[in-house]
């Protein structure tokens, strides 16, 4: 029997569970430097391109790019891990560069081009990096994987563009996609299952293919 025979999905359960938690939970610590005149929540329009499609949203100014993608556009491939820029699960590519979508406000992306894991490839037509992750078993639970793949794609692009890293020996020479270089550059993506070595195998295959 499938879950949806009852009209219940894992997502639906999570969403309703989240709502009851929100009601029962204690409000967060009050801001200690909040001035007396805190404004009311403000909504704002923002237009951006996500995975090649123009999207217009009206969001609370507090909405992060991550929450806009997940909760407004229902692109739930991008994951919320720590929500503080420490784990990399929320990594997306904006105007060709990888960023933590949790540490960016949606309203700050007017006119930007955002690529999420859903825009890199599809189940029918995987991006080469996605296929390499499958081939090399570059995940276990899979939660960090969309962020890992977006980051991995951007890392190889950074190396190709000659962006140096902490482990680049000669700052004035072109960096190469070595094991050390890729490990250092992927340090903003945490995998608690510890799939790192297989992620590196996947990246190495793609880096080699592009020469």
């Amino acid at each position: 029997m499938k879950d949806d025979d009852f009209g219940i999905t894992r997502r639906g359960v999570l969403a309703s569970g989240g709502a009851s938690f929100a009601i029962a939970s204690i409000p967060p610590a009050r801001a200690e430097i909040a001035p007396a005149s805190q404004p009311m929540p403000a909504a704002m329009k923002v237009a951006l391109t996500v995975n090649g499609k123009k999207r217009e949203l009206e969001v609370d100014t507090r909405t992060t790019l991550l929450d806009a993608l997940r909760e407004h556009l229902h692109l739930t491939g991008t994951k919320k891990g720590c929500d503080h820029g420490q784990c990399g699960a929320c990594t997306v590519i904006v105007d060709g560069r990888r960023i933590n979508s949790c540490l960016s406000l949606a309203v700050m992306h007017e006119g930007d081009e955002v690529t999420t894991i859903e825009g890199l490839g599809t189940p029918e037509k995987l991006h080469p990096m996605q296929a390499a992750f499958v081939k090399h078993d570059g995940y276990q639970c899979g939660y960090c994987t969309p962020g890992q793949i977006c980051s991995a794609v951007a890392v190889l692009d950074e190396i190709r563009r000659g962006v140096p890293s902490h482990v680049t020996r000669d700052l004035n020479a072109r960096p190469r996609a070595t094991n050390d270089e890729m490990r250092e550059r992927m340090s903003g993506n945490i995998c608690r299952c510890g799939a790192y070595s297989n992620i590196l195998e996947a990246m190495t295959e793609i880096a080699g293919r592009r020469g």
């Binding site: 610590a29 005149s37 820029g85 700050m108 890392v155 903003g188």
Partner: protein
């Protein structure tokens, strides 16, 4: 996160006057530190002024032979700039030792200078912290202080300035350029930019309300061998326990700035005369008057040893 209104501005002057107009306003550029703190309600601006559209995203040569780095130049772009890599390698190295690729793609030059401490008691709103809530006390003193400051601290605060980039800027004698809401500008030597805590640790820098950083300026290149050595609990993506930024010339003279040990990038010019005599002599001058806690006294030894490693590296 507390509610806030939001506006985009098109020029530095507009940004500064918008800040003067709205009480409780803050500038936002990369947002990587500010949004983190807003989620925790450690920062609660009532209004955000998005300065990403005001230009200031170029690195330009100065008439004096140096470089003027726009406030909005991203850390990735600054570290990768050919002129910086060649003539100010210390700056590239320091930037690349900090944060993650994702964060460096967003973080700006000005924002990096203004990042706030990572003292765990500043972050924990259940604890007293004079930096977060003036007059509430300091839970770090007598608390878990392994990562915290050993010099320049006060009875009110032992937090460190967490960044790497500013350590390099300190060794390079950079200048911070600003514009005030009344339109006047000033140039602040990096040595004077960050404050010591004294009894007002909630004020990190000498910037006045509404004053906007427009650039960081580097003097003409000084040559020498540039090394940035960061010692931390992980090989990547961690804040420094101790970092040493050094520029050493062929004759053994040079400059040294330290990170991870003080409320600001730590440099003692008088101590640099001892460079030809080795790490121990320099470390003594740099750390004179240090007041470590039981948890972080190891940093004094670590400074000397890291400096020793750096000097060995500069000798090839």
């Amino acid at each position: 996160m507390r509610p806030f209104s939001y506006e985009r501005v098109a020029t530095p002057a507009e940004a500064a006057s918008a800040a003067a107009r709205t009480q409780g306003a803050k500038f936002i550029a990369g947002g990587t530190n500010l949004l983190d703190l807003m989620k925790l309600e450690i920062e609660a601006p009532t209004h955000l002024i998005d300065v990403n559209g005001i230009g200031l995203d170029r690195i330009e040569p100065t008439p004096e032979g140096g470089l003027r780095i726009g406030a909005l130049v991203r850390n990735t772009d600054l570290a990768a700039d050919k002129r910086v890599r060649k003539d100010y390698a210390l700056l590239s190295r320091a930037l690349l030792a900090g944060a993650s690729g994702q964060l460096r793609n967003k973080a700006t030059t000005a924002g990096n200078l203004l990042q706030r401490t990572r003292c765990p008691y500043f972050y924990d709103t259940n604890q007293p912290c004079n930096k977060r809530k003036p007059g509430s006390g300091c839970a770090a003193i007598g608390g878990y202080s392994r990562q915290l400051g050993v010099i320049g601290t006060s009875e009110a605060c032992i937090a460190t300035y967490p960044g790497d980039m500013a350590v390099a800027l300190r060794a390079l004698d950079a200048t911070v350029e600003t514009v005030k809401p009344d339109g006047s500008t000033r140039a602040i030597p990096i040595a004077d930019f960050h404050r010591l805590p004294g009894d007002t640790p909630h004020i990190d820098t000498v910037l006045e309300p509404g004053e906007l950083i427009t650039a960081a300026t580097l003097p003409a290149p000084v040559g020498g061998t540039h090394v940035y050595h960061k010692v931390r609990d992980r090989a990547s993506y961690a804040f420094a326990l101790v970092s040493v930024g050094a520029i050493v010339q062929r004759d053994g003279s040079g400059r040294v700035a330290l990170g991870g040990i003080a409320p600001k990038p730590w440099r003692v010019e008088a101590a640099e005369a001892a460079l030809p005599r080795g790490a121990k002599a320099v470390a003594e001058g740099l750390l004179a008057g240090a007041k470590p806690t039981g948890d972080n006294a190891f940093k004094l030894t670590l400074v000397e040893r890291t400096l020793g490693a750096v000097l060995a590296q500069t000798r090839g």
